[in-house]
Amino acid sequence: MVEVFNKLADYFQNVPAVRYAFIVGILIALCASLLGVTLVLKRFSFIGDGLSHVAFGAMAVAAVVGLTDNMLLIMPVTIICAVLLLATGKNSKIKGDASVAMISVGALAIGYLLMNKFPVSGSGNVAGDVCSTLFGSTSILSLTETDVWVTIILSLIVLVLFVLFYNKIFSVTFDEDFARATGTKAGLYNLIIAIIIAVIIVLAMNVVGSLLISALIIFPALSAMRVFKSFRSVTVCAACVSVFCASTGIIISIIDGTPVGSTIVAVDIAVFVVFWIIGLIKGGVKR
């Protein structure tokens, strides 16, 4: 055990990439978990999934076009899609479902097609490229200092927005009709939620890759909901769980050389099972 810690401390002091990975991983996990509660409760979980595929498609396009900074394309495209999907309102629910599926699968297919047709890295290893974009297998240890700063700034913005809009997000999530009828600008807040989610997804792509983002958003919220019963305690617990899982996942992946994204998600699943059992014990036989 001591050896492991020494090894970690050593990495932490001498390898900047490891430091970056920790900072970025923890910040992103924190942001992702905050809106998870809202997404799960509004039955919007699938939108996170759809958006991450859009981000993947945009990334492929950016790479093919030869943009030096991918973010410039990925961010606006994902935000626009998020607004379109989330702001169409709940009345067109069925149509909404179908359009999410359409956009998400479409973006995935086009993205893969482009990556195949115009290989980027010059390594000729298309399968490897695709794999790392989808599962984020290596990119977290190849973060540059700029990446880290961008992540820090954007995460801070997301955190501040979340705290400022916390009460409004609660109202709009709990009972949108009541909020609207009593004068809350539900449309505006849905828009803000959509934009925050898009930003989080683009950020998270660096860590877990686009296929696993939903897991980062949804698992901590689901775990917390097993045990806690008020909106605030669920939100706080989800944030803690998410940070814990992300740091544990990163540590394991550094020591064991496993892919970062899937390791974090595996830890998330394990924690979910633990919380689920705690919930069962606490709540007696309910459900």
Partner: protein
């Protein structure tokens, strides 16, 4: 001047009319009971009054110092998801959200009023409890306390006693009656004609036969020929 006026309103969904040419008005201090068969459009009327749904024809206006967003309401079914984690206190205070504008947090005064409204609804002991673990009657009182945070002027209640046992029903009615005697205008949808007769000052019957008028004239009509009113029948006394 009336607080709420519906002027020849036609309600419907996607071009299909449900209710045509409905006119009535509600004044400060009224207790209006809306009755009618299942599917006659009571909940639709309520959503239209709240501005969640727009009328196909006609206008709904508020007056007498009542702003459209100052109408508190109790939904028919709690659209709230079964597994929503929220404490009673969090839900009650969210009634103030409409008044917050862009202010991010609730003020001390709002917190105090929320506590007072919980006391009024006799749910102060439940403040920390989880909403989804409460009984139906308790949940209704939580939502009523939230509605009270949103307004001190007018409450719309969509079948507030549906699914409650007789004892809890009586408690609910007396709570609503208390609010009415404090000067809050009540509009209540109900299938319980008897209760309507006991508490209401005015009755609106919608469906094939439309009636709007005072409770007394409704009673007279009811005893004379059952439920058959002429289409535009009903005068307004008071």
């Amino acid at each position: 001047m009336a607080q709420l006026t519906c002027d020849s309103v036609t309600l419907g969904y996607e071009g299909k009319e449900i209710l045509t040419d409905l006119s009535f008005s509600v004044s400060q201090g009224d207790y209006l009971c809306i009755v009618g068969e299942n599917g006659s459009g009571k909940s639709t009327l309520m959503k239209t009054i709240l501005g969640l749904h727009s009328p196909m024809k006609g206008t709904i206006t508020t007056g007498d110092g009542l702003k459209p967003t100052e109408i508190g309401y109790l939904p028919q079914q709690t659209l709230v998801q079964r597994d929503f984690p929220a404490s009673v206190r969090e839900i009650v205070i969210s009634g103030f959200q409409g008044k917050c504008g862009i202010r991010p947090f609730y003020s001390k005064e709002e917190k105090r009023q929320a506590a007072e409204n919980m006391k009024k609804m006799r749910i102060e002991d439940l403040a920390k409890r989880c909403y989804r673990e409460l009984s139906g009657g308790q949940q209704q009182r939580v939502l009523l306390a939230r509605a009270l945070c949103a307004t001190q002027k007018m409450l719309l209640l969509d079948e507030p006693v549906a699914g409650l046992d007789p004892k809890v029903t009586a408690e609910m009615y007396s709570l609503i009656n208390e609010l009415h005697s404090e000067g809050i205008t009540i509009i209540m949808i109900s299938h319980d004609i008897e209760a309507a007769m006991r508490y209401a000052t005015h009755v609106l019957h919608i469906g094939k036969d439309v009636f709007f008028g005072s409770k007394e004239s409704f009673k007279r009509g009811m005893f004379m020929d059952g439920f058959s009113f002429n289409k535009k029948g009903g005068e307004r006394n008071g």
